[in-house]
Symmetry: C2
């Protein structure tokens, strides 16, 4: 889980998708139009983001609406904190 999160964030296109979704949900097609890559490529990125728990997908008729899964951000913050802050052990 930790790994899939960091891996998902490692790609700049996926980070841009996340930033775009901050402004609200969007369909796969709408998102695809805002990026230079092919729709199939974006679909792959959506999958990675979904597997990492960063976005959720909901089908609305012919469309699939993607939105941020904000509840994961807390966990991400926790992970970052554990990576970078704990001075548990003596130095």
């Amino acid at each position: 889980m930790t790994d899939s999160l960091f891996k998902a964030l490692a790609d700049p296109t996926r980070r841009e998708v996340l930033k775009r979704l901050q402004r609200g949900p969007a369909t796969a097609g709408e998102l695809a139009e805002e990026f230079p890559q092919a729709k199939a490529t974006l679909s792959h990125h959506f999958n990675v983001l979904k597997a990492a728990g960063l976005v959720r997908a909901e089908r609305m008729g012919q469309h699939v609406v993607y939105s941020l899964n904000t509840s994961v951000f807390e966990e991400l913050a926790r992970m970052m904190a554990e990576l970078f802050k704990p001075e548990r052990k003596a130095k």
Copy 2:
């Protein structure tokens, strides 16, 4: 720069190295002994971490001492905040 940071964090071995360095600086050899990979492989990881600004290297005689570059963590926190908090212009 953003990209090299996220890429550096995407590998679990490198995250472990960072966690190890939280307990204090260590030489390349000391670090290499704590990981199953070959020394050359670890050296590669050190380079990636160094390029991302996450660690610093200082030669001490025959040894090279690696330590966390804590000043980058602030920037990382800022980046995470920008990625995940509602739209606002760079601060």
